[in-house]
């Protein structure tokens, strides 16, 4: 039993109130107990604690430990350069934290948009007197007065109504006014005609209602709660990065500890070993990875914006590429939302609308013309898309017909029909249009070739068959009827009195044509292994027909209708969703969150489209919430991750393609970044195994990781999509960002070549300076400093070749086009300029402990770069020849 089923007196008893309203004292007491009538945010982690959280994850803790040990060793053993290292590590932590925070941070504005839908002041009855109070002070039991134009402040049970019509658009997305009454009724609160909901608007009429739920307890508050509390969780990329950093940090820590102990075993002193241990750990941690990922995502989001998909959260860029299911609306997204009357059925014949100028068909068009609230002003049709389509068809066929409208029984979403009474040829005639299943039971006769016949079972069957046949063509079908009224009947008659004993005229089928680019976009989705689930308010047959027309379904899809969906348990829903082709018809937006949750429970990566206020929870719950930029409400836009600037499904598919490309490109630059870790680590091995001074200092490692590598890596993030990227299935949840293929290519193939170059550069420089094996080499001497500079330069030179090598993992550099990614060139130019600064500028020398190199030092290193490119081309050739394309 709910409040909608109670009589007025029972409502008063239940809420302990009366016709005269609450006393001020009782209202104040209830305000204390139930709180203010306002939308409040669910308590979440504070911004500061979210930011501080970036400093406490596994990688950060490891780096903090390294920084602490560096500062400790500087304190105990001053002058060893450990202070610089400690500061550099702290800088790395801060940079990574800032970048990750920026990537994850998103201002929550959906609630602000919701709050704007509630009124500021409202009229209530208290102590028998009408008074205006701030809407936030309304309490359960208050008698609220409703008049035209008012925003409703709380969920309230209507106790008096006078032609009260409300607009639930903000709550249900349904823009048609709904007629309200105050009679008790059963069923769900949200569907009850005697309930007025907070956040909705009075269109006309007036009424009195008793508030029974305020603030976050209202239906509106429930949406706000879900919008605010629901979190989609980490994106697939964020999860992969967490895993990757744990793998890398563990490798770095274990290797650092192993060589620290090995150094001890080989008799080196503690401080040498300590520097070594820290150094190798820092060398193996890709400090630049997170900032580069963030910047690559930002660039991806800009490219998507150019393709009319506005990205609100950076990680969504990649998540789009991982999507396995898209739940989409039909009208306006798959179709143009540009209705046109296509077929007319009357006299058991289907006509084209232009052919329907005579006989019963003419009567159908006349009903469509007169029972219509759309207007044609200066050749422009204004009004609801369905009504304008009907008006256009009728005017173009019949011409201008004027017939004074005497009264109207407006459209009502519950009744699903409307009626007007017009003066036609001196007679009062009622014209009705509406849903076939609602209108037909009100008819007792049918007009056949000008003759009014009884509507028997055979006639009903004929009409029903025609109705189904039109729906099977993907048309939205409306039925039409008329009734000639006695003069006294029309005066003050109510809807149910007029809409009886009517004469059925016929049907008109309206088409909302699919967007032309949608079939191709759907084909792409099918090729890309992405399932599309249509969720529409249309009837099943219309939905299936449209789905067939656009290629969304091929076989016999499973159709789940709204009423069946409501009764379905979660388990059954999940079983239904396992079907390859599923369509949800007669659905409302509030059902979407359940579909999305069930899909997510099964491990799918879900994108969902939406535009209304009550789409917001589903948009938040999905991995990717996609709001419509043109017709979408502010609430939906604020709750979404992506806003489609053109409301077009094809744009989603373009964004998916871009997302997949971004993931591929992230792998490319991670290969590039990881490859440089080997030449950074090998000098430390040489240091401990060969008992030579360290060929590469820690600060020089940071110069590569956080300096020279950054822009070329970003340029790799801008690579164009590989052909066939939309022909592969979505990335498996089991596929790792750091898989064996990537790590082996970086660590066992590219890295060793670079390491060889680095060590060659170091020893070549020493040899050139007259150093022989076994001779002393003071760490402060210029020869040693030049040798470390040569080692660093060798890494940079080979990294230049590496950036070209990493542009593809399989295709030849020459087949993808040497100049096809122009950003590589400025990236490489900046990399080289930075290195020149480090090598030749006194300031660079001071920071990075380097000295200028002779010209021939560069020349001896270039062959290593050329060799790296040739070796990579050979590897790719072997891979193309012997490894099938699908294998990763």
């Amino acid at each position: 039993m709910k409040i909608n089923s109670l009589t007025k007196d029972e409502v008063f008893r239940s809420l302990v109130t009366a016709e005269t309203g609450l006393s001020e004292e009782e209202a104040a007491r209830r305000l204390r107990e139930f709180g203010l009538n306002e939308i409040s945010e669910v308590k979440k982690k504070r911004l500061l604690s979210r930011f501080l959280g970036q400093f406490t994850h596994f990688l950060a803790v490891l780096l903090w430990l390294a920084a602490f040990l560096s500062f400790l060793s500087e304190h105990l053993h001053p002058g060893g350069g450990m202070l610089t290292l400690g500061l550099a590590i702290v800088a790395v932590i801060v940079i990574n934290a800032a970048f990750t925070f920026i990537q994850e941070y998103r201002a929550e504005k959906a609630l602000e948009a919701l709050r704007k839908l509630l009124p500021f002041f409202v009229k209530v009855v208290r102590e028998g007197r009408e008074k205006e109070i701030p809407a936030r002070e309304v309490v359960p039991g208050d008698i609220v007065l409703l008049a035209e134009g008012d925003k409703i402040p709380a969920d309230a049970r209507l106790i008096e109504t006078a032609a009260l019509r409300v607009n639930h658009a903000s709550l249900t997305g349904e823009s048609e006014p709904l007629l309200r009454n105050h009679e008790p009724c059963s069923g769900e609160l949200v569907e009850s005609p005697n309930i007025a909901f907070a956040g909705t608007t009075v269109i006309s009429g007036s009424g009195r209602a008793v508030a029974f739920a305020t603030g976050m307890r209202t239906e509106f508050g429930r949406i706000a709660h879900l919008t605010s509390a629901v979190e989609a969780g980490l994106s697939p990329l964020q999860k992969e990065i967490v895993k990757a950093t744990r793998v890398v940090a563990s490798i770095a820590a274990v290797v650092g500890l192993f060589f620290f102990l090995l150094g001890f075993a080989m008799g080196r002193n503690f401080w040498e070993n300590f520097i070594f241990g820290i150094g190798i750990t820092v060398a193996l941690i890709p400090e630049g990875m997170l900032p580069t990922v963030t910047l690559a995502l930002a660039m991806g989001s800009q490219r998507m914006a150019r393709r009319k998909a506005l990205i609100k959260t950076l990680t969504s860029v990649e998540t789009l590429g991982s999507v396995t299911v898209i739940c989409t609306d039909k009208t306006g997204t798959l179709t143009q939302n540009d209705m046109a009357a296509r077929a007319l059925w009357a006299d058991n014949t289907v006509f084209g609308v232009r052919e329907a100028g005579a006989g019963t068909a003419r009567e159908v068009l006349l009903a469509a013309l007169l029972c219509n609230n759309a207007r044609c002003i200066d050749g422009q049709y204004k009004g609801d898309p369905t009504e304008t389509a009907l008006l256009r068809a009728a005017r173009e066929t019949l011409g201008d017909i004027t017939a004074a409208r005497l009264c109207e029984v407006p459209f009502d979403a519950d009744r699903k029909m409307m009626t007007t009474v017009n003066a036609v040829d001196g007679r009062r005639t009622a014209f009705s249009k509406g849903a076939f299943e609602k209108l037909l039971p009100l008819c007792s006769h049918v007009l056949v070739k000008g003759t009014r016949l009884a509507l028997d079972d055979a006639m009903q069957a004929q009409a029903s068959d025609a109705y189904h046949a039109l729906m099977d063509r993907g048309l939205r079908v409306l039925a039409f009827a008329q009734r000639t009224l006695d003069s006294e009947e029309a005066e003050g008659a109510r809807g149910e009195q007029i809409e009886t004993d009517m004469t059925f005229l016929g049907l008109i089928g309206l088409e909302d044509p699919p967007r032309p680019e949608v079939p191709e976009a759907i084909r792409k989705c099918h090729d890309a292994g992405i399932r599309i689930i249509m969720i529409t308010g249309d009837a099943s047959r219309t939905a299936v027909a449209i789905a067939r027309e656009i290629g969304l379904v091929r076989g016999n899809p499973l159709v789940v209708e709204g009423p069946e969906f409501k009764r379905m348990s979660d388990r059954v829903l999940r079983e239904k969703l396992a079907n390859k082709e599923v369509i949800f018809s007669r659905m409302t937006p509030k059902h979407k969150i359940r579909v999305v949750s069930a899909l997510k429970d099964e491990g799918e990566v879900v994108a969902v489209t939406g535009d209304g206020v009550n789409d917001a929870p589903a948009l938040k719950r999905a991995d990717i919430g996609i709001a419509m930029g043109i017709v979408g409400t502010d609430v939906a836009k604020e709750a979404s991750d992506v806003v489609l600037l053109d409301d077009n499904f094809a744009t989603i598919v373009s964004a998916v393609e871009e997302g997949r490309t971004v993931y591929e490109n992230i792998k490319k630059f991670i290969t590039y970044i990881f490859a440089s870790n080997i030449p950074e680590a090998v000098p430390y091995l040489a240091y401990i195994l060969l008992r030579i001074p360290l060929p590469l200092t820690i600060i020089q490692i940071l110069a590569v990781d956080l300096g020279t590598d950054m822009l070329p890596a970003l340029a790799l993030g801008s690579e164009k999509p590989t052909p066939g990227i939309m022909k592969q299935p979505p990335r498996s949840a089991k596929e790792r960002l750091l898989n064996f293929s990537l790590i082996s290519r970086a660590y066992l193939f590219l890295g060793p070549i670079e390491a060889a170059a680095g060590m060659f550069g170091f020893f070549w420089m020493l040899n050139r300076g007259g150093w022989v094996w076994g001779a002393s080499l003071p760490a402060s001497g210029s020869l040693y400093v030049q040798a470390t500079t040569a080692c660093l330069t060798a890494i940079i030179v080979t990294q230049v070749a590496n950036v070209f090598a990493c542009r593809s993992s399989r295709e030849s550099l020459f087949s993808i086009g040497f100049f096809s990614n122009w950003l590589i060139f400025p990236g490489v130019a900046v990399e080289l300029l930075l290195q020149l600064f480090i090598v030749y500028h006194p300031f660079g020398n001071r920071i990075f402990s380097t000295l200028p190199l002779p010209r021939d030092a560069w020349l001896v290193l270039i062959p290593f770069a050329v060799f790296l490119l040739i070796a990579e081309e050979a590897r790719k050739l072997v891979q193309r020849r012997y490894v099938p394309p699908g294998r990763r």
């Binding site: 409040i3 909608n4 239940s14 979660d570 359940r594």
Partner: protein, 294 residues
Amino acid sequence: MYPFRRFSRCYLILMYKKILAAVNEHLNSEVSARYALLLAGKANARIYFCSIAEDGLSSKEFQAAEQAVKRLSLRAQQMNVKADCVLETGDPLEQIGKIVTSESIDIVFAATRHEDVEKRFYARTVARKFSLGLSCSMALVRVVHLGHVQPRTILVPLKAHINHIPERAYFTALMAGAFNSNIHLFHITKPLTRFFHGEIHLTPLEWESRLPTDISRFIEYLNRYDVTLEKKLVPGIAGSSITIEAAAKKHELIIMGASERSPMNSFIRGNPVERVLRETTCDLIILRPRQTIA
């Protein structure tokens, strides 16, 4: 697991014969007492509507409480439920404690106050004093939605380790019976994680195969009472997941156990019950059972 004979014995013995509803001048206490009344009707128990006027209570407030007791008493009469009205002055905990002892009350219903919810860990609230100080079972009712006169769907969040399983099942089944409602059992578990793999995704069916023993026992007990139930086990954070589930599925009442975390533990690990109390969009009953199997 209990052998069947023992099981059926406790089913027979575990009954609420006397129920006390604490009523004051606030509407939510009256609504809370209505829950108690419906329960008494279903359990064929005697109900005590008890209003204790604290020092400093104004006469208007006293009258408001008295009116509430009268309305409830009248309603009980209409429902053929034996009712006693107690109007006393003094300390509510002390007075109600005396009645609980003298009348052998089985369970007390009391409404939480808005100010209780505002306080961290319920510290120094009447509700907490009742919950800890009374020797019988306690049902704390948080009234938030007055539109659901008789809730049709009840969400029952369960922990992995549950005490007083027979009484909890009995109470839940009685409430469901009183309202002819469906029960939705809901268990939030820690996400399954591996160090190098992060969170492991399991489907709902896979999660269900990991149903904790106590919950299985709870279901066994519930099944004895001819109630309709569904179960759901998902990984997540308890407090927020419960309120989201309740809001998303439009559940009309939540019945959950009282928090057993100490203030320090709550400070460190958070307190799901406190969070649900604060954020719930439907009515909530927090049950602290004290009955033992006879």
